[in-house]
Symmetry: C2
Subunit: 340 residues, 2 copies
């Protein structure tokens, strides 16, 4: 009579303990548990009973060592602080767990050195890597992807699988939205200079602006944090624009706070558009008009792509790229351009 799960006197049971108890060799236990058809029905039953009785759980390290698969995936984020990544983490976690994988979460602190050394460490430990907002060069990314299954989120490099949130399209919608409200002086509050997304959005935005015959200036760069919002807000006011499109919601929310402090009313005097639709964008004051991106889904898709790469054995897996659509969510931080 053994106690229910939770018992376990000394050291955890090994495959040898199970083998001894069921009167077979360790190798047979291994087969019974992984390759059931390879072993006799009755023997298997005996082994399973013994395993259950001993509360046997295979040692992941040993398994990884001999099989070469660690069943772990590393997820690198540039800043755990950023709510944007929370949704990604949530998505990857969900999907990884469903597939029986463990998630190794690492914060690279926006440093390419930390990022590089972490990847170096993980090379043996993880079966694959998901990179978000990588600060690495295209070449580095290619090299990494060449030797370890890799999926990048919001970063497009030839030869590297990626999941892209198509924010530029919705940003252009935001532009049209603002134009339709009578704005003709608009500013883009850019993110970090090394940010692929920021560059991509600015390119799309300036092209669209020219096409539509309105003036859009670029301000920044600003760190993607709420505290950068103050500087961004001041720059925006100083630029003479009547509307600002921020790199992300964090900056936008920071701007909202700063503008209020300065007595600039939103949206009466100034319209603000954010990006990502993070937690808080709907209840800040005023609720933020923003580009809603399926961030959690991006995490899930990235995992799906990564796992298919991992399990695709050899061959040249089609270098895939998945583009996720976004849309403009209009709330209360945008309004008609002020009369001059």
């Amino acid at each position: 009579m053994t106690a229910p799960p939770g018992f376990t006197p000394g050291k955890p049971a090994t495959i040898h303990d199970v083998a001894a108890l069921s009167g077979v060799a360790a190798s047979t236990v291994s087969r019974a548990l992984s390759n059931p058809d390879r072993v006799n029905f009755r023997t298997r039953a005996r082994i399973e009973a013994a395993a259950a009785q001993l509360n046997y759980v295979p040692n992941a390290q040993a398994k990884a060592l001999s099989s070469g698969q660690s069943k772990a995936v590393a997820v690198l984020v540039s800043d755990i602080t950023n709510p944007f990544f929370f949704d990604i983490i949530r998505g990857t976690q969900l999907q990884l767990k469903a597939a029986g994988y463990t998630q190794l979460l690492v914060d690279t602190e926006e440093s390419d050195e930390v990022e590089t050394s972490t990847i170096e460490q993980l090379r043996n430990t993880a079966d694959g890597i998901i990179l978000t907002a990588s600060r690495l060069s295209d070449e580095s990314l290619e090299q990494i992807a060449a030797r370890l299954p890799t999926v990048a989120i919001n970063r497009s490099v030839p030869g590297v699988a990626s999941v892209i949130l198509d924010t530029p399209t919705a940003t252009n919608q935001a532009l049209d939205h603002l134009i339709s409200l009578g704005h003709s002086h608009i500013a883009f509050l850019g993110g970090p200079a090394t940010s692929f997304s920021s560059t991509r959005r600015w390119d799309a935005l300036s092209a669209a602006a020219e096409e539509r015959g309105v003036e859009v200036v670029r301000l920044g760069p600003f760190a993607p944090r709420t505290y950068s919002g103050a500087a961004a807000a001041d720059a925006l006011v100083h630029s003479g624009a009547t509307a600002g499109i921020a790199f992300n919601d964090l900056i936008a929310i920071g701007m909202l706070q700063r503008l209020r402090e300065r007595g600039v009313r939103v949206p009466e005097d100034m319209s603000i558009v954010g990006c990502d639709d993070i937690f808080g964008a709907d209840f800040c004051s005023p609720p933020l008009t923003t580009v809603t991106a399926p961030v959690e889904q991006a995490g899930r898709v990235a995992v799906t792509m990564l796992l298919s790469k991992i399990n695709s054995a050899v061959g040249a897996p089609p270098r895939s790229q998945s583009i996720l659509p976004t849309h403009l969510t209009i709330r209360s931080s945008t309004g008609p351009a002020p009369h001059k």
Copy 2:
């Protein structure tokens, strides 16, 4: 001439490759790298050079297998969705990385079964566990802690090390704050029935209320999500109270939204107090008066305690408990009681 980090032709180098290149035995390489004094100065230099040249990184699995230490710590959270945990995760991540540990993040989805089975899996894989808002029974926790270094956050069980955020004390400050504003009918919007924190705060609150001669009723339980705020707000209005103390900020923020929809002004008609001071509490509308807890610090302290347990070898480590002070942050969601 080897390329800089990032090169790596075929399989990653092993300790044997390093040994071969430097002309010594693998065991010597192992010693040179871990127990430097055990090996000759010149030999060590040769080995280190070889290791650098081959871009050698020790295999974590193999290390774990032979040394019995995985240098990994599992952090279980009941719901990754909850911003409260983000700060914990941030804290643990920071501290773990500083100590050279890897963080295994797991979402238990508020299910004790998932929690139990996860811990079972992790028994061999992780050197220790940090449990947040555990749904397990005291007995289960004791058993777990008995066989694997464990630290619980916001859960006090004899024999299990823990980090407690002392929210009851600040909640009582909130009570005094409300009383001083003229409120005499106050409600506590409780969290999940199984929540240790919720119970603890209610006990403290009701005792304090009695002492001060005011009436505090308990409503709920409510799930710790913003969407529960609607029901909580309605219950609060119906109760006839003029002020509500919510289990956490998520509920409080949800209440704010609902009250606005219903045309109940905050704080003119109703005062609201939250708990935790999560991301968003300062920029919701109106900014939330709440109990500010050093959540990230709790994560850091938990890691520190856990690592000292892990490294304390045998002996009976003093069953420790760390209580972190909190304070009331007064913003704009509380005000004088409405005149009747």
